[in-house]
């Protein structure tokens, strides 16, 4: 029989830390701009999970309010970021993160 362990908030915090780490390493390693963007979204999700955990732990609803704002800002950021990527990749279809000089001009 599995030992029934109590789920404390620390479990969620550890999971959030792991997700954030995976996102950070992915951002550093990948070269495709769109996949790098997805790793940023991973990090944002890890942070929202942490916020909700603290909100429940401290019985404070402000944690959840901040999550709403994080979602809105993430949406706006994705819209503008993908617009930039579209404009960039139209001119240079094979640009990766190594070609920093394509932003010139």
């Amino acid at each position: 029989m599995i030992a029934v362990a109590e789920v404390t908030p620390a479990w969620y915090l550890v999971l959030g830390a792991l997700l954030f780490t995976v996102g950070a390493v992915g951002l550093l390693v990948r070269r495709n701009p769109l996949v790098m963007f997805m790793c940023i979204e991973l990090m944002l999700n890890a942070v929202t999970l942490t916020f909700v955990t603290f909100s429940r732990m401290l019985h404070d609803v402000h944690g959840q309010t901040v999550v709403v704002f994080v979602l809105v800002v993430a949406a706006a950021e994705v819209v503008v970021g993908l617009g930039i990527i579209v404009a960039l990749l139209r001119k240079h279809p094979t640009a990766t993160a190594d070609d920093l000089n394509v932003l010139k001009g």
């Binding site: 029934v4 780490t21 979204e41 609803v61 704002f69 990527i85 579209v86 279809p93």
Partner: protein, 189 residues
């Protein structure tokens, strides 16, 4: 017992999706792994009684943001598999893994040093933003959003308009022969 099972399964889905994003060579597969992570996070929100946020997470993140990613991937045709064996900067992967382990170690150390709580704050006893047991989370969230954070809420609406305008400007195709005609020169095209 149920919460243990839910947390373990949802956590596994989240981590599996996250590793899928980082390790998949095809960007479309990476986007689909991201959807798996977002669903796992939504389940974890529900496990922590943040039901409204779980719904909004699915609708906005998995239903709009990832779809936008897929649109751009298909539009630009950059869904060819990336060659992960090329490493332009020597030793970068090793450095990235070291940085990752450092970040993880720092977070876990901060968690462990406070005995699994990571914060010295204590639950508020009588405050306006205290979550009370009988009230639905969406009621309290709405009250907090429209009273304490009203100004920020209005500013985010402006932010969204700016983002829309920015996206339209950035992604339009500029025609080659786009001259600005001199208004003094009579008839313009």
């Amino acid at each position: 017992m149920v919460e243990l099972f839910v947390v373990l399964v949802a956590g596994a889905i989240c981590l599996g999706g996250a590793l899928g994003v980082v390790l998949n060579r095809n960007p479309v597969h990476a986007a689909l792994s991201l959807v798996a992570t977002l669903f796992g996070i939504a389940v974890l929100f529900i496990a922590q009684e943040a039901n409204f946020l779980a719904a909004v997470q699915i609708i906005v993140y998995a239903g709009a943001i990832v779809v936008l990613f897929l649109f751009v991937l298909m539009l630009l045709g950059v869904d060819q598999a990336e060659d992960l064996s090329i490493e332009p900067l020597g030793g970068q992967r090793v450095a990235a893994v070291i940085v990752g382990i450092g970040v993880l170690g720092l977070s876990l150390l901060a968690l462990a040093s406070t005995g699994g709580e990571a914060t010295g704050a204590r639950p508020l006893e009588a405050a306006a933003n205290r979550v009370t047991e009988g009230v639905a989370d969406i009621d309290q969230l709405g009250e907090s959003l429209f009273t304490d954070y009203l100004f920020a809420f209005e500013v985010t609406s402006v932010l969204l308009v700016i983002a829309i305008v920015g996206a339209v400007v950035l992604s339009r195709k500029v025609r080659r022969a786009e001259y600005v005609d001199d208004p003094l020169e009579g008839d313009s095209a």
